[in-house]
């Protein structure tokens, strides 16, 4: 079982990192587009806690939490999103492409639904090599409208691949209610492929971790793909700066009721964890994020010469 304190800490790291990104974006220190997962931290932290170093994750445009929960270092993460040469991707990818291949994090992705077939390929690689590794494809409820999702689950099912598809169901498909975009219910859709679908409260990180552990163990036993639907909430807009004219302000104002971090803190407190331990975890997360941002601020900007020679592998001498 995942350690509830470790889950709490990971959610704090993601929350602190993303709230810092929101500030940096507003101040012009983060260019481009960023999509925050504030409110959804329980899914990333819970699922990734069930994985080992040999496993693979393909993520989405809302992928900061997945990268950090997979162990991507805050320094390389912030330097990347802040467009510095010390970014793990050299400042060539940015927020939508944070990736840490050494840790089996196959990238956030700018294309909705595109991570799923990549995770399928990673699952295929685990199977072909004969390891017990598994692959996870995170996706949102809006992505179910993409054809690649269907192709992926179909192939995973006929080949019984170790693929865990995790739906972060926040009710939104970019700027639209997902129930106005997708006719299928995820459970019925999944079951029509003969694949097991489990629903979990995505704002209960311990429940997410338990569901993921159970599914991953089944995948490692070769029982074929699984789908977990984690109901959660997107606190912020589709992207930072999104005026959210499509959204009922009253609904947006109720987000804190679903806060996975407040819930985890209350549960830990009820189980007797001293407040000081929890306060320390919070200040440590804040300090780690602040240190990573400070380092990124002094790092050199992304390097054009390195980018120019980075399209293909260097020619062999």
């Amino acid at each position: 079982m995942a350690d509830p304190i470790a889950l709490f800490r990971m959610m704090l790291t993601i929350r602190e990192a993303e709230l810092a990104l929101a500030r940096l974006f507003a101040d012009g220190e983060v260019p481009g587009f960023i999509h925050l997962s504030v409110g959804q931290e329980g899914v990333a932290a819970g699922v990734c806690a069930a994985l080992g170093p040999q496993d693979s994750v393909a993520s989405t445009h809302r992928g900061h939490g997945h990268a950090l929960a997979r162990g991507m270092a805050l320094e390389g993460f912030f330097a990347e999103v802040m467009a510095k040469s010390t970014g793990l991707c050299g400042g060539r990818g940015g927020s939508m492409h944070v990736a840490d291949l050494q840790r089996g994090m196959l990238g956030a992705n700018g294309i909705v639904g595109a991570g799923a077939p990549i995770a399928l390929g990673a699952a295929l690689a685990h199977r072909t090599r004969g390891t017990d590794g598994v692959a996870v494809a995170f996706f949102g409820d809006g992505a179910l409208a993409e054809g690649a999702m269907h192709e992926t689950l179909n192939m995973a099912a006929i080949w019984r691949l170790p693929l865990l598809m995790v739906c972060e169901n926040n009710g939104w498909a970019e700027f639209s209610r997902s129930d106005t975009q997708v006719a299928a219910k995820l459970g019925a859709w999944t079951q029509s492929y003969g694949v097991r679908h489990d629903e979990v409260d995505g704002n209960d990180v311990v429940a997410v971790a338990a569901a993921a552990e159970e599914a991953v163990a089944a995948l490692r036993r070769g029982e074929g793909p699984r789908v977990i639907e984690a109901r959660t909430h997107r606190w912020r807009g589709h992207f930072e700066g999104d005026p959210q004219r499509y959204r009922d302000p009253e609904e947006a104002g109720r987000m804190a009721e679903h806060d996975p971090i407040a819930r985890a803190r209350a549960a830990l407190t009820a189980e007797g964890t001293p407040a000081q331990t929890l306060d320390t975890a919070e200040s440590e997360a804040r300090d780690a994020v602040a240190a990573a941002i400070a380092a990124a601020r002094t790092a050199p900007p992304a390097d054009w010469a390195a980018a120019l020679t980075g399209v293909y592998a260097p020619a062999e001498a």
Partner: protein, 324 residues
């Protein structure tokens, strides 16, 4: 030395690469039990088993997406797309994922995959089974594009493509699948990006690739009877293409024709013409001419398709014009 059809040369390259490297595996529609629609993978299922010769559903986006994921995970997938026309369905995986991963992940890892696919007409296969779409792919930084014209090159370049650390689109001209040619037992490697002089000549250079190499060679034979010696340069690789070899030939002949089966407008020939106008302008004693297909879809009826496709006569006429 063995005489092989081009499709057999492809088969042999696949079998050799799979025998040498256990991380090489194949995936595609009907490549296993059926041996591939053109027989390129015949016999490989029996030799290597279903995990390494994987029959897929009719899911081009999934096939190429899975190849990207497997390549990022350390395997060397060789995916087959049954007809190049179907590559439209896989463009996200190829263009947004495979081509960009090395660059956008800061060089953490490349995508060592090959996508094999047949292009070209001449089979009355109609508008959706005959296209030559290679220019699209040459336009994408991060992809390599190869198109052999002989069995020996098909074998050697497929070995090079599988060994390459970056994604390579390997285009097989389906009208050439049955063409026979010598393939040595242990041939010298052919690097991607190197052209070959298919026929030497001193009066004009004809740059071609795929089926057009053979039309150009036929045109050169015709022109020889008129006292014109045309040099035929087989590009073999389209991205990267052998700019130095084209310039070198042009510097000897001072006339340039570029022939391709694909639609002429915005094609591979347009890029070569533009580059040679930039870097070879002083060598030119005549206009650079292109020979390619007209700006229409590939038609079905034999009469229409033969009017559509470029041929030796059109190439010969272009060479004569450059010499006017």
């Amino acid at each position: 030395m063995a005489e092989l059809r081009m499709v057999q040369a492809v088969n042999r390259a696949l079998a050799e690469a799979m025998a040498e490297d256990p991380s090489v595996f194949l995936l595609g529609e009907d490549i296993g039990a059926a041996g591939g629609p053109f027989g390129a993978t015949r016999g490989l299922l029996d030799k290597f088993g279903p995990d390494r010769v994987r029959d897929t559903p009719i899911s081009e986006a999934g096939i190429v997406g899975a190849a990207v994921g497997a390549a990022l995970s350390g395997l060397k997938p060789v995916a087959e797309i049954m007809f190049m026309d179907f590559i439209t369905l896989a463009m996200d995986a190829l263009v947004n994922q495979a081509a960009k991963a090395r660059f956008m992940f800061g060089g953490q890892r490349g995508v060592p995959m090959v996508l094999r696919t047949p292009h070209g007409g001449g089979l009355s296969a109609g508008p959706q089974h005959s296209q030559c779409l290679e220019a699209w792919l040459c336009h994408i930084p991060g992809l390599k594009v190869v198109c052999p014209a002989t069995p020996a090159d098909a074998h050697a370049l497929l070995r090079a493509a599988i060994a390459d650390p970056d994604p390579v689109v390997f285009i097989e001209n389906k009208a050439l699948y049955a063409m026979k040619g010598e393939v040595e037992e242990a041939p010298a490697p052919v690097p991607i990006g190197r052209a070959r002089i298919a026929r030497p000549g001193r009066d004009a250079t004809v740059v071609a690739y795929g089926a057009a190499v053979h039309w150009a060679t036929e045109a050169a034979a015709t022109l020889e009877g008129e006292g014109i010696e045309a040099e035929v340069l087989d590009l073999r690789s389209l991205q990267p293409w052998d700019e130095a070899a084209v310039l070198e030939s042009l510097s000897r002949t001072h006339r340039l024709v570029i022939a391709q089966e694909a639609v002429e407008a915005f094609g591979v020939g347009a890029e070569i013409a533009a580059r040679m106008a930039e870097i070879g302008f002083d060598e030119l004693d005549g206009p650079i001419l292109r020979v390619g297909a007209p700006f229409t879809p590939v038609p079905f009826a034999k009469e229409l398709e033969s009017a559509y496709r470029p041929d030796a006569a059109r190439i010969a006429a272009a060479v004569r014009r450059t010499l006017e």
